[in-house]
Structure formats: structure tokens, C-alpha cells
């Protein structure tokens, strides 16, 4: 009986170890957003391309679309950029950009140099819209439906894996719903 007590540490460790094993399959970067299934917040901010033109929530509605938070100071955004160009090209999905806490000239030059995947860009110099959206850091990508309800949020670079595994199935589902309803 006494000998059995000595097995207690081993048993505790095995229990702990199996939880760690389970933990390996989970991705700590996957953050549920408080805004999932909520409406995109209202805003009124200038367009990046034209400081005179103001953009608002309404301008982003009508289609299933991606909203991508980016900035020129963000190295991962540069990595993500070519892929965004590729999906607008291939998947015919509109991407709206939110240029987050950036310098206007830098951002305009970035788009001229690297190509512009965005239908329109909101210039969020102070990061106000970023706060309303609960942005952790660029890049972040939101999937909104045609009514402007946020359906999915991805933190970090969107690449093939993210697109195929999470975004694309949801986009197709939302489009199907839209065409039925």
C-alpha cells in the first residue's frame, strides 16, 4: 500500500502531460473576437487615396467582403500583401483596407509600388476604428457579410492555409445564404 503512494507523482504527471499534448493542437493565436456576429462599428474617416472623400460603414456593405487592417510599419503586412493581391484576382472577393496608424504618403507609395488589392482604403490615422474593432495588431482580417455583420476574425498573416481552412468555406457558405435569402 505504501509503495502505491509513490506512484502518485507519476500519475499526476501523466494527467498533466496528456493535457499538454492536447494543448499542442490548439493555436494560441486564434482569438475569438467579441465582435463575432456583431455588426461592423459605425465610423466616418477619410479615404487613404483622397483625403477629401469620407468613408463610412455603409460604403463597405453589399457583398461578402474581407476587411484587412494593415500598415506600412508592419513587416508581416508586407509578407501578406502579395497573397491579398492573389485572392482578389482569383476569388473575386472585395477587400477593404484599414490603413492603421500610418503615414499617408508612405501608404500611398506602398500601394503604388506593391500593387493595390483593395477596393477602398480607410485611413485610420489615430487608430480610432482600430479601437472599436478591438485590433490587437496589424495585420488582422475580418470577414463581413453583405449586411456588414462580422463573421470571422483572423489575427496575423492570411496565407493559403488560413484562406483554405477558415475563410474560403465561410465565404462560400455566406454567398450561398445570400443568394437563397
Amino acid at each position: 500500500m505504501k509503495r502505491l503512494k509513490l506512484f502518485v507523482p507519476l500519475i499526476i504527471f501523466i494527467a498533466l502531460g496528456s493535457l499538454l499534448l492536447k494543448g499542442l493542437e490548439l493555436d494560441p493565436n486564434e482569438m475569438p473576437s467579441a465582435l463575432i456576429d456583431k455588426s461592423l462599428p459605425e465610423f466616418r474617416l477619410p479615404s487613404l487615396e483622397n483625403p477629401e472623400a469620407m468613408l463610412g460603414r455603409k460604403d463597405l456593405l453589399g457583398q461578402v467582403a474581407l476587411v484587412n487592417v494593415w500598415a506600412t510599419w508592419c513587416p508581416s503586412c508586407r509578407v501578406e500583401h502579395p497573397y491579398l493581391l492573389q485572392i482578389t484576382e482569383q476569388e473575386k472577393i472585395p477587400i477593404y483596407g484599414i490603413d492603421y496608424k500610418d503615414v499617408r504618403e508612405d501608404a500611398q507609395q506602398w500601394l503604388r509600388k506593391l500593387g493595390n488589392p483593395y477596393v477602398a482604403n480607410v485611413f485610420d490615422e489615430q487608430g480610432k476604428l482600430g479601437i472599436d474593432l478591438g485590433v490587437f495588431g496589424a495585420p488582422e482580417t475580418y470577414l463581413i457579410d453583405q449586411k456588414g455583420v462580422i463573421r470571422y476574425k483572423h489575427i496575423g498573416v492570411v496565407d493559403d492555409q488560413v484562406w483554405l481552412k477558415h475563410l474560403k468555406p465561410l465565404v462560400e457558405q455566406l454567398r450561398a445564404e445570400a443568394s437563397q435569402g
Binding site: 503512494k5 493535457l19 482569438m31
Partner: protein, 664 residues
């Protein structure tokens, strides 16, 4: 060419580790001298090859060899040379190589300094360390080769070491921390060897003690440095965040602390053997767990290395083998606990047992808090995080009890309860600490803050009881004849007292302001006037920076000029905040630049940090205490003896070192 040599010697080191893990172990089981004698040469070989391998990687960094992927990712030609060198361990692959190198260094040290221990024991210890080494070398070679090349399209210029890590702190923090982590592998190996040999006696504990002390001292220094680095480099004036990775270093420290005390009991009194062995296993297991948490990507943390699941799986399997294996061995071989108390209620044994219980409970609390988010998540409960409130809530009361008990420690005796005479003496000490403990916050803070009273009283209680004992013992036997292990203990306990003041007073008396400041604006804080004189542009070797000019006035006199920077590192356009600090004995003035707000105005963060330096001074004293204890004559006598006893020395290193040991 050099990277290939590095890769090749890494493989050769593995070729040494494999026979090391097998041959001496079989030799010890069969009592075969020849097989056992393989251990030392293999250890030397492994060490030499790993040093070569590490030197090759360092050379690749110094020569800007960007065809090596790891170099290209973490270094560029504009980086100052000292950061090129520290970039060697700035990311996953290189730091793992450092781990392996330090492990082989410890193994080498054991081989050199254990010539007077029984052959079977040494053979087993070295074999066990060889097994651990196999795990890490395989991990390096299979999942994280630092020598992988980017050929044929090698970049002309590298990326950059994370600017946060381009700092003197990073040059020393990881090596010290790893010395500590890996150092516990020695105590672990001794424990496993003792379990294998069935000789779990006082001698085993005596041999483990210096190794445990020194590992713990390194770990203390590493943690202190890390904490100080976070304080001045992260720019928000915090010094401990209960971040998972900080916890990963703190848990082995707590358990190592328990182990040091428990080994003392086993050494002197021959009791608590099973418990001590378990602690030795536990301390090293927590070091390994820390490695897992940092490198597998299961937790989010500022420290987390870029990680992939294959690595996580590898370490987890390795964890299962090492910890599961050793706990199984423990379950089968550990002596059964005999519950025959042979000591009085307030004897030193009981006090040390209580110390152990509290420290282990504290470590388990931290472990639980660290893994709780992971556990909830893997049980499907969603994402949560456990923050400082939890840790402070459980940790502070536990520590208070520990500190109260510590005051009884110096006067306590083995076996017996203390006498009435001592009780009176302790009562006086308690009264004195309480008296000053109440007065001090009253005078310093102007009000009776309960937390400050508690901290000051406990700190004084530890310091006064320690000092009294030091004086009594010193008078009795002469101060020069007090043993270094005793002085080391006193120093470490005194360090703890200093640390308590630092931690408590910083959190109680510090003030902080986040303000918008235009040139000419000023604000009052902690009796100083901070005036913002605008921002200058300065250029560094690989960054350019906006440097705030902040004059600090004391009364009407300009006392200091602080120049915090907002840097942009050129290679990846990463921005960094460099705080400016004026350090004093009882307070730090701390200024950091936030964001520019237009029209020359900046968001500025100003801190008045009371007694903050005491935290690290205390931590350093604890570490120094650990080092001092290791230099005790008790441990050196053995080295001197080994000179007299004719031992067949097959290499000069051992002779030289034993000579050094005798003279030092």
C-alpha cells in the same frame, strides 16, 4: 565550410552521447571497471565537439555569413559586434545549441570534480546526463538545425535580431538562466543514479549539495537580470509580469530553493530521503517544462520563440521519457516513507519541512496559474488568461508565512525544540521589528499603510534574527572561522529581506503619470519637477531615434537630464522604446517616450519608483549567497584529499583543478 564543420561536430557530439548513455551504465550494473572508465573520455569528447560546434556558429555570425539561414534571420552587417555575438543565442536554434553546450559543460565539470566519489556513482551520473544530452542533440539535429544553409540563393544582407534583444541584458540573461536550468540536471542525475544504485544515503545528499547551490545561484542571477532588463527595456516600468515564461523560470527556482534546504536535512540527519529525491526530479522536470512552454507554441508570451508543432511534439515526447521514466523509477525504487518522528516540534527539521511544503505549494500554485489557461482550453472551455491578481492573492500570504518561519531558523537546532532562553530572545527581535516596521512607513509615507508595515516588519524580522545569530556565533568562534556555507546562508536570507522591502515598497509607494507634454510643459511627481524640453534626432549604428530631453528639477535646481529614446531599427523598421532612468538608493526616476502627438507634443510616461533597486539587489545577494556557500571548505577538502590519495590521473586537467581547489 565552417558551418558544415559545426554541423559535423554536432553530429560527433551525439556520437559521444549515445555510448555515454549506455556503456558506463552497464558497467556500473555489472561492476565492470573498464566499461565504467569509458565515461570520462566520452564526456570530454562531447564537450570539445560542442564547443567547436558553438564556435563555428559564433564565427558565422561574426563573419556575416548570411548563407546560413539562422544568421540571415537574426543578424545583419550593421549590428554592433557584441550583439552579433549575443544573437547566436537570440533565437530558437542557437539558444538550444547553447543549452546543449552548457549541459555538456556541466557534465564535464562533474567528470572533473568527482574523482573522489565512488566509480559506480560517477558512471551512473554521467550516463544519465548523457541521456539528457542525446535528447537535446537529437532535437537540434532533427528539428532545429542552426547550420542549415540558404543555397544557392543566399541573401546579401541579413534581417535583424529583434531590437528588444539588442541590449547588454540579453548578452548575459540567457546564458545565466541556462546555467541554472541545466545545472539542476546535475542534482537530477545524482538522484537518478542513487535510485538506480539503491544507495540513497546522506553521502549522496552531501555530493548533490554544492551542485544544487551553484545551479540555484546561477538561476537567481539569471532571473534578476531578466527582471531588470524587462524593467528598463520594455518601457512600462514593470519588473515582473507573471508571464508564462517568467513563471517557467520561477518554478524551478522555488523548487530548487526547497531542494537546497531539503538536501541539508538529508545530509545532516539522514531523513526526508524520498522527498529530497522527488524534489530533485521535480526541479529539473520544471526546467524541461519551461523549455517546452517556450518552444512549443502552446502558450502566448512575449518570450515565445517562433515555433512549430513538430518541435512541440518532440519536446513533449522527450518530457514523457525523462519525467515519466524518472518518476516510474522513483515509484519502484524510492525507500518507503517511515513515519517515525525523531525530532521535536520546533526542531530545525520541522522548520525546514515547513519551508519545503510552502515553497512547493507556491511552485504548484504558479504551475497551476501558468497552465490553467491551457488546461481549460484543452478541455474545451475557451480562452482565458490568468493574471497578476491570482498570483498575488495566493503568493503573498504563502510567502508571509514563510518569512515568519524564517526568523526562527537560525536559532533552531537539530532534533530539539528551542529553549526558553531563545524564546525570550526571539520575542525581543519580534518586538524590535514590529516597532521599527510601524515607525518606518509612518515617517517615510506619512501614513500607516498596512502592507508597508507588514513588509517592513517581516523584512526586519528576518534581518534582525539573522544578524543576532551571526553576532552570537561570530563572538563564540571568531568571525574569521565562520564557515562559508553558513555565511552564504546568512547572505541569501539577508538578500531576501532586502528583496521584500523592494517588492512591497515599489508596489505601494510608486507613482506614475501618462501625460501629453509639449516643449516647456512640466509636471510634479514624487517631489521632483519634470520638464519636457522637446525632442532631438540622434543616429545610432543601426537605428535612428527621437531623443526626448527631460530636465528634472529638485526645488529650483536642475538635478538631472534624462534622455529617453524612441528608436526605429533600420533593417526591419521596427520601433522600440528606450526608457531613461536615474537610479538612486531609495528611488528610481523613470521616463519613457510614447507616441508623438503632433506639434512637437509627445505622450510621455513618468514614473517615480520607490525602492525598486532593492528588488534586484536582494536577488543578487541571494545568488551571491548561493555562490559563497559553494566555496565552503567542506567541499574543497575533498579536492585536497584527492591529491593525497594516489589516483590514476589520466589527464592533466583534473590535477590542475584539484590544485586550484586546494589553494583557492
Amino acid at each position: 565550410m565552417l558551418p558544415e564543420l559545426g554541423h559535423f561536430t554536432l553530429i560527433l557530439a551525439l556520437c559521444m552521447a549515445v555510448p555515454l548513455a549506455v556503456i558506463p551504465l552497464i558497467g556500473a550494473a555489472r561492476n565492470n571497471q573498464l566499461w565504467m572508465s569509458y565515461a570520462r573520455p566520452l564526456v570530454c569528447g562531447q564537450f570539445v565537439f560542442l564547443v567547436t560546434s558553438f564556435a563555428c556558429l559564433a564565427a558565422a555570425f561574426l563573419m556575416d555569413d548570411f548563407s546560413v539561414a539562422y544568421v540571415a534571420q537574426n543578424s545583419n552587417s550593421a549590428m554592433p559586434v557584441q550583439y552579433k555575438l549575443s544573437a547566436v543565442w537570440g533565437a530558437h536554434e542557437g539558444s538550444l545549441l547553447l543549452w546543449a553546450l552548457i549541459l555538456s559543460g556541466w557534465t564535464f565539470a562533474v567528470a572533473v570534480f568527482s574523482r573522489n566519489l565512488p566509480d559506480e556513482l560517477v558512471a551512473r551520473v554521467l550516463s544519465v546526463m548523457g541521456m539528457i544530452s542525446i535528447g537535446f542533440l537529437l532535437f537540434l539535429l532533427l528539428t532545429s538545425n542552426p547550420f542549415a544553409r540558404l543555397l544557392p540563393n543566399s541573401p546579401l544582407e541579413g534581417g535583424e535580431l529583434n531590437p528588444l534583444l539588442q541590449d547588454v541584458g540579453l548578452i548575459f540573461h540567457p546564458p545565466l538562466l541556462y546555467m541554472g536550468y541545466v545545472g539542476f540536471s546535475v542534482a537530477f542525475a545524482f538522484a537518478i543514479a542513487a535510485l538506480l544504485g539503491g544507495q540513497l544515503d546522506a553521502a549522496w545528499a552531501r555530493w548533490s549539495r554544492p551542485w544544487t547551490n551553484i545551479a540555484w545561484a546561477f538561476l537567481s542571477a539569471g532571473i534578476v537580470l531578466g527582471s531588470y532588463w524587462a524593467y528598463y527595456e520594455l518601457g512600462w516600468g514593470g519588473w515582473w509580469f507573471w508571464d508564462p515564461v517568467e513563471n517557467a523560470s520561477f518554478m524551478p527556482w522555488l523548487v530548487g530553493c526547497a531542494l537546497i534546504h531539503s538536501l541539508a536535512v538529508t545530509d545532516k540527519r539522514g531523513v526526508f530521503k524520498s522527498w529530497t529525491v522527488l524534489l530533485a526530479i521535480f526541479a529539473f522536470s520544471l526546467s524541461l517544462l519551461g523549455t517546452f512552454l517556450v518552444r512549443s507554441g502552446v502558450l502566448t508570451s512575449v518570450h515565445a520563440f517562433a515555433s512549430d508543432p513538430a518541435r512541440g511534439l518532440f519536446i513533449l515526447v522527450f518530457l514523457f521519457l525523462v519525467i515519466g521514466g524518472s518518476l516510474t523509477l522513483y515509484a519502484v525504487r524510492a525507500p518507503e516513507v517511515v513515519s517515525k518522528p525523531v525530532f521535536g516540534l520546533w526542531s530545525r527539521e520541522i522548520l525546514l519541512l515547513l519551508n519545503n511544503v510552502i515553497l512547493v505549494v507556491a511552485a504548484v500554485t504558479v504551475l497551476l496559474g501558468t497552465l490553467y489557461p491551457l488546461i481549460i482550453d484543452s478541455l474545451g472551455g475557451g480562452r482565458i488568461s490568468v493574471g497578476p491578481p491570482y498570483f498575488n492573492l495566493v503568493f503573498v500570504p504563502l510567502m508571509c508565512v514563510l518569512f515568519v518561519l524564517l526568523g526562527f531558523a537560525p536559532k533552531s537546532q537539530w532534533k530539539r525544540s528551542s529553549t526558553n532562553n531563545l524564546k525570550r530572545e526571539l520575542f525581543m527581535a519580534a518586538l524590535a521589528s514590529l516597532g521599527v516596521g510601524v515607525l518606518f512607513p509612518l515617517i517615510y509615507g506619512g501614513e500607516l499603510h498596512l502592507g508597508a508595515v507588514l513588509a517592513a516588519t517581516l523584512s526586519l524580522w528576518i534581518a534582525i534574527t539573522g544578524a543576532r545569530d551571526l553576532i552570537t556565533k561570530g563572538r563564540k568562534s571568531g568571525f574569521g572561522r565562520l564557515s562559508r556555507s553558513y555565511l552564504g546562508m546568512q547572505l541569501a536570507h539577508f538578500g531576501l529581506a532586502v528583496c521584500i522591502i523592494g517588492v512591497a515598497f515599489t508596489s505601494i509607494y510608486s507613482e506614475q503619470r501618462d501625460v501629453r507634454m509639449s516643449p516647456g510643459d512640466s509636471l510634479e511627481l514624487g517631489g521632483y519637477r519634470f520638464q519636457f524640453d522637446g525632442v532631438k534626432q540622434v543616429e545610432g549604428q543601426n537605428f535612428s531615434a527621437q531623443e526626448g530631453q527631460i530636465s528634472i528639477y529638485q526645488g529650483d535646481q536642475k538635478a538631472y537630464l534624462l534622455q529617453p529614446q524612441k528608436r526605429v531599427y533600420l533593417a526591419r523598421r521596427q520601433s522600440m522604446t528606450e526608457a531613461a532612468i536615474e537610479t538612486g538608493f531609495t528611488r528610481d526616476l523613470y521616463v519613457a517616450l510614447g507616441e508623438p502627438l503632433g506639434d512637437g507634443a509627445w505622450a510621455v510616461r513618468v514614473h517615480y519608483k520607490a525602492f525598486v533597486i532593492w528588488i534586484w539587489m536582494g536577488g543578487l545577494l541571494m545568488g551571491l549567497g548561493g555562490f559563497l556557500a559553494v566555496t565552503d571548505r567542506r567541499y574543497r577538502i575533498k579536492a585536497a584529499q584527492s591529491e593525497k590519495i594516489p589516483v590514476a590521473t589520466d589527464n592533466g586537467v583534473a590535477e590542475v583543478s584539484s590544485n586550484l581547489g586546494a589553494k583557492a
